[in-house]
């Protein structure tokens, strides 16, 4: 395991140098098509790494437990720093871990180990047992969710719209507080608010009309926990005029688009399947259990 800890430390050191030399990770630079290119390079590197692992023992080492355990430990340590320090979007170094190179590189290293491990197991698979399926679902599921979630994040768009009673609104605001003209307009028909006896909100919802470019009108009710789908976007209930309460004449809605979501969900459902299999396999005798090798 000593080698594993040394490699992990080298990854963190490289991250520190990068952070010092080029500054924080600029995730917006990874927006389409850079992210798909990065993903292609990652996949090709993992395939070449697997192909060469028979000849080069360091590559073989990366797909083993003595590499995985230290890598996870470094992941725990860095994420703990993140959990113990207040994170801000305009922070630097430790106060914005998501753009801190050692953090990003450590998780990239974990992803690379996951890829090599999964590919090695897939290559060895002749007569897959249940435990092999669990292994692949767990490892590949986490890998896919991790990669798609991280690389897809710059392509995610979140817009806030302040809709007014009976007045169609075409302008939205993006996360950088810039005004964006939408191809649709949204009009608030009715704001619904129900409260508990103590005055706290029980339910709030917006009946809206969505008017598309051709003037076609679709009516929908947007509610907390019940977003409405419009094409590739999802419309969420976000807020309202809390001073006016039930008398609010505006409703704040959020439009969210995340083109990488299907890939993330594929990863999540693979992990759920893997966990389910693990649950059943963990009650089997030891010789039948290699799910979490």
């Amino acid at each position: 395991m000593r080698h594993g800890f040394a490699i992990g430390a080298a990854v963190i050191a490289a991250g520190l140098v990068l952070q010092w030399a080029v500054g924080a990770v600029r995730w917006q630079d990874f927006a389409w098509p850079v992210n798909i290119a990065v993903l292609a390079v990652f996949v090709i590197a993992a395939l070449i790494g697997t192909a060469l692992s028979r000849r080069y023992s360091p590559l073989r080492f990366l797909a083993t437990l003595p590499a995985a355990v230290p890598a996870i430990c470094y992941g725990v340590a860095l994420t703990m720093i993140m959990g113990l320090t207040r994170q801000t979007a305009d922070g630097t170094w430790l106060s914005d871990m998501l753009t801190f190179w050692p953090f990003v590189l450590t998780y990239s290293y974990i992803a690379f180990i996951l890829a090599l491990t999964t590919l090695r197991r897939l290559r060895r698979l002749r007569h897959p047992r249940l435990s092999d399926i669990a292994f692949v679902l767990n490892h590949a599921g986490l890998l896919i969710a991790l990669l798609a979630g991280t690389l897809g994040n710059p392509d995610m768009r979140r817009l806030k719209i302040i809709t007014n009673l009976n007045a169609p609104e075409r302008r939205a605001m993006d996360e950088e507080q810039r005004i964006v003209q939408m191809s649709i307009a949204i009009k608030l028909d009715r704001f619904i608010m129900e409260t508990y006896p103590d005055g706290s909100p029980r339910r709030f919802a917006s009946e809206v009309s969505i008017i598309d470019r051709d003037g076609k009108n679709v009516q929908a009710t947007v509610e907390v926990n019940r977003p409405v789908r419009i094409g590739s976007w999802k419309l969420y209930q976000y807020g309202y005029d809390t001073k006016a309460g039930a008398e609010s004449r505006i409703s704040i809605l959020e439009l969210v688009q995340d083109p990488w979501l299907p890939a993330v969900y594929a990863g999540i459902f693979m992990m759920l399947g893997g966990a389910l299999l693990m649950f059943f396999l963990s009650n089997k005798p030891k010789d039948q259990r290699h799910a979490v090798e």
Binding site: P66, V69, I72, V76, M82, D198, F204, V224, R226, M278
Partner: protein
């Protein structure tokens, strides 16, 4: 009015669990099973009663999650006893469950019926119940590890199997939470302090599972890893409520 009745159910349940633990020491397995099961039934009856009276699942406040934890601990203990026949496990799970019952009697953190709109989701109950189950199973695993450290003996691989089961539950809890968050807040993962600590806990048990899978691992170190991971779990469960870095920015703060 509701929590006032809790003490009667709790006393009966704790007495039955203690009786079951005693029977386990006396090697009367059937009596141990029966007594513990009756205790669980009585305790669960109270939860159902509360569920009906609140008109919502009792999962929202810290006190309510402790209720489930007190239920799942003896349940996990019973499963461990059935599988590995550890005589002492029921005693420990009974003591731990009793501690949580006492906290609920003396500091119940009673709250109104109000359930904010974001929590009104079909994901709410499975997310919390599965997590409490995971916490209880991992608590039982930690007890096994501590017992073996103190006695300087190793018996079977009970704790490793428990961790696998508990971790599977934890994965379910975390991913249900992600699917729910997408519907409620528009994103499946926002690095909210609770989410960050959930990831830390999940990874810590992952490290343990991978380490113990190595053929020549150090058993004592592994048991210490399990204790450390359980401390991180406490941070995730309630510790972050007192963490300055997380104050006021978590959507998961219980209660108010």
């Amino acid at each position: 009015m509701l929590w006032n009745n809790f003490i009667y159910f709790a006393i009966v349940a704790v007495v039955m669990w203690a009786g079951g633990a005693y029977m386990a020491w006396r090697d009367k397995r059937n009596s141990a099973f029966t007594a513990t099961a009756i205790g669980l039934a009585v305790f669960f009856a109270y939860i159902c009663f509360m569920w009906g009276a609140l008109e919502r699942p009792p999962l929202r406040t810290m006190g309510e999650t402790r209720l489930w934890y007190s239920l799942f601990l003896p349940m996990a203990g019973l499963a461990v006893y059935a599988r590995w026949k550890y005589k002492w496990i029921l005693t420990f799970t009974t003591i731990m469950a009793t501690v949580f019952v006492c906290v609920n009697i003396f500091k119940p953190e009673i709250h109104s019926k109000a359930l904010m709109p974001a929590l009104q989701s079909p994901w709410f109950a499975p997310h919390v119940i599965v997590y409490m189950m995971a916490y209880a199973i991992l608590g039982a695993a930690t007890l096994v590890a501590i017992y073996q450290l103190l006695r300087k003996t190793t018996v079977g691989d009970g704790e490793a199997t428990l961790v696998r089961t508990g971790w599977a539950f934890m994965t379910f809890g975390m991913l249900f939470g992600a699917l729910w968050a997408k519907e409620a807040w528009g994103h499946y993962w926002s690095w909210d302090p609770k989410e960050t600590w959930a990831a830390i806990t999940w990874l810590a048990y992952l490290a343990y599972m991978h380490y113990t899978h190595m053929p020549r691992h150090n058993r004592t170190l592994a048991q210490w890893m399990l204790i450390a991971a359980f401390c991180l779990l406490q941070m995730c469960w309630w510790g972050i409520n007192y963490l300055p870095a997380a104050k006021g920015i978590s959507v998961h703060s219980y209660g108010s």
